[in-house]
């Protein structure tokens, strides 16, 4: 029997909804792929036709959260500020969008999103996220006249800082994760200062 693309999509959606429920109710670590298959109403082996691991399911949920966050951020009528401020707004919107998925971040960061994962070809979703984040940040840099400075090195540094902030936030036990806001503020101040200061020097290099 051939399964239509529509049916595939519907099953995939069922798995994701089941995962969202179970991860929230019983935690990521204690939820097995067998639990997820049962909750989604599919055979245990079928689940692997859709996702290679439960970390991949968590990553998908996170990517969707980030998509929603980006949409919300772009819809926001906030007037543009400095590059530092705009990047802050962008990442803060991501954190807000991921708030209810926060417990999923540590395993996903460990297995899929680490800075060292770049180019290992192991995870298309993670690579897509990296590309998208860098594209959005690059547009902001461009708007503030720092497009040229946002070179491959700067992009790698930005991605490292971004995943570092996610990692910190995922385990931040301060009230309302206020420490992450301070960390993000200090990190972006440092990054933007480096980016804008080093730009003319790099242009001079033949």
């Amino acid at each position: 029997m051939r399964i239509t693309a529509e049916a595939k999509q519907e099953t995939r959606e069922r798995i994701l909804q089941a995962a969202k429920r179970l991860f929230r109710e019983q935690g990521f670590d204690t939820t097995t792929t067998r639990d997820l298959a049962r909750e989604a109403g599919i055979a245990a082996g079928t689940l692997f036709n859709y996702f290679p691991s439960k970390e991949a399911i968590a990553l998908d949920l996170i990517l969707r959260g980030l998509d929603r966050a980006l949409l919300a951020h772009e819809k926001r009528a906030a007037p543009p500020g400095s590059l530092e401020e705009d990047l802050f707004g962008l990442i803060a919107a991501d954190l807000r969008g991921l708030r209810e998925l926060r417990p999923l971040l540590p395993p996903v960061l460990e297995t899929c999103l680490g800075a060292s994962r770049r180019g290992d070809g192991g995870n298309e979703g993670a690579e897509a996220l990296r590309v998208r984040q860098l594209a959005v940040a690059g547009r902001l840099a461009e708007r503030h006249g720092a497009g040229e400075a946002f070179s491959a090195v700067a992009q790698q540094l930005y991605w490292t800082l971004y995943t570092g902030i996610l990692a910190h936030w995922s385990r931040d036990d301060s009230p309302r994760q206020e420490d992450t806001l301070a960390y993000l503020d200090a990190t972006l101040e440092m990054f933007v200062e480096w980016l804008t200061r080093s730009a003319p020097a790099r242009r001079r290099t033949p």
């Binding site: 400095s82 530092e84 705009d86 802050f88 803060a92 309302r176 420490d179 806001l181 503020d185």
Partner: protein
């Protein structure tokens, strides 16, 4: 107090802290918090990057070492380790950067310091938070009061119009139409400050101390608790409302209303008062009569809190007062208000007698109650110094008539007495006395800058009368 720079710098502990020693040392003091404390994530930049800051730190460690000069060699090792750790903590306390640099500048110019330099140095001894851009403010408000500025307020100014200790202040308009000032705290700074103070105090005062040293420990512990209160805007809002209830329309003193629905532990929303600070007032060249009138309002505000509220407005920083165009005085910051316990209040009432009579024997009587039993012979130096300080401190009221706060010679005398106390490392007093001393020099400094002449006794008598306090048991005349 004159030391050459090399000797002074030698007072700074060596920088390398052996992790093994730290491990052996364990927790600094049971019950004083976890070890090590994380200290939050306020920017951890070195504050000892300038010579002035190093000078201030060197004086601090020289002063602390004085407590332990008689300790045995074995104890000295432990003390040095703790001091090294204390230096590490101090260096991370970036919100003290401005204060430490100012203190260093001040200490560097001793003993020739002019009254105005002293006043300016004292005014800068407060916490400083990094500035916040609008995106950060927006996140803070969303977290703290449940919505972004545009959702919660009818209008919100993106640029801060004033700095506050621990944060900054923005203008806003509530949906109900009232103009508001919104004080927003930098994220994590309150926890960082509380954690750092919990950590550094036991490191500075670690073990067995003399009687004076024990007194100093209690003073610093009291100051630490005051810092904890100061970093919680919910507590401040409660004090502000209490103080607001002490003033009537005809007093000419106004305390802004708190908008509780838009406030939290890290956000304080209050009625906006439009006025100028002391610098603005002085720039307009006010007449002596204007200076005196403002001085009287300031003094009345303080006495009202004291006698009617049993509180002390400790933080007489110029930024906490607004001079309104309609002639009213605005009080706008209540983080530094201390409320007296019944025991402290009883002691404060006992001061009424020497304050009223101005007699040396009444001061001495009070000193015995304030500082505990004393040996007339062995403690002769302390008694002489304490009496001179009380006489200086209380003269504006005890002498009666108009007192000229613009007299630099008088202020300089108080500074000399304070420095003498610091030299002697005398800590024989009530725990609240450290903060009261800070107030003493802040208020003297502010009125010195204002150049006000005030009949302090008249105001005190009026306020005591209005508070309905039966003075007979305390009067002594």
């Amino acid at each position: 107090m004159n030391l050459d720079l090399a000797r002074l710098m030698a007072a700074l502990p060596e920088r390398e802290t052996d992790p093994e020693i730290v491990r052996k040392l364990g927790k600094p003091d049971a019950g004083l918090g976890e070890w090590p404390l994380p200290g939050g994530l306020v920017r951890r930049l070195s504050i000892l990057g300038t010579l002035q800051a190093k000078l201030a730190a060197a004086w601090l460690f020289l002063w602390v070492r004085g407590w332990f000069q008689d300790a045995e060699a074995r104890e000295q090792d432990g003390i040095e380790t703790r001091l090294r750790l204390a230096l590490d903590v101090l260096e991370a306390m970036s919100y003290l950067r401005g204060a430490v640099m100012k203190a260093g500048q001040f200490l560097g110019s001793l003993p020739e310091i002019a009254p105005m330099e002293f006043v300016q140095a004292f005014e800068r001894l407060h916490f400083e938070a990094p500035p916040m851009h609008y995106a950060l403010i927006r996140e803070m408000l969303a977290d703290e009061i449940g919505g972004e500025p545009e959702e919660v307020f009818a209008q919100f100014e993106r640029e801060a119009f004033a700095a506050a200790s621990l944060g900054q202040v923005h203008r806003a308009r509530l949906k109900s139409g009232e103009a508001a000032a919104l004080k927003v705290q930098y994220p994590g700074i309150a926890r960082a400050i509380r954690a750092d103070f919990r950590m550094i105090l036991p490191l500075l005062l670690p073990s067995r101390l003399s009687r004076d040293g024990e007194g100093m420990r209690r003073i610093l512990e009291y100051a630490r608790r005051a810092v904890e209160r100061e970093t919680d805007y919910e507590i401040e809002a409660g004090v502000q409302e209490r103080v607001r209830g002490l003033f009537r329309e005809e007093d000419g003193i106004v305390v802004p209303r708190v908008f509780q629905a838009h406030s939290s532990r890290r956000v304080l929303c209050m009625e906006l008062l439009e006025g100028i600070h002391l610098d603005g007032l002085l720039a307009r060249g006010p007449s002596q009569a204007e200076r005196d009138r403002w001085g009287e309002l300031l003094m009345r505000a303080w006495y009202r809190l004291f006698y009617a509220g049993r509180m002390e407005y400790v933080d007489w920083n110029a930024g906490n007062f607004l001079f309104l165009p309609d002639g009213r005085l605005g009080l706008i910051d209540f983080g530094g208000v201390i409320s007296f316990t019944p025991e402290e209040w009883e002691l404060m009432r006992l001061a009424d007698r020497p304050l009223t009579t101005g007699r040396a024997e009444d001061r001495l009587d009070f000193l015995r109650r304030w500082s505990g039993p004393m040996d007339e012979e062995k403690d002769a130096d302390f008694i002489r110094l304490a009496d001179a300080y009380m006489e200086w401190s209380w003269r504006p009221r005890a002498a009666g008539g108009v007192f000229d706060y613009g007299d630099g010679v008088d202020l300089r005398r108080g500074v000399d007495l304070l420095l003498e106390f610091l030299r002697r490392r005398t800590g024989r007093a009530q725990p609240c006395s450290g903060l009261i001393t800070r107030w003493e020099f802040l208020y003297r400094g502010l009125l010195y800058r204002l150049g006000a002449r005030i009949d302090v006794r008249r105001i005190a008598e009026e306020e005591i009368g209005a508070a309905g306090w039966d003075r007979e048991p305390y009067r002594g005349v």
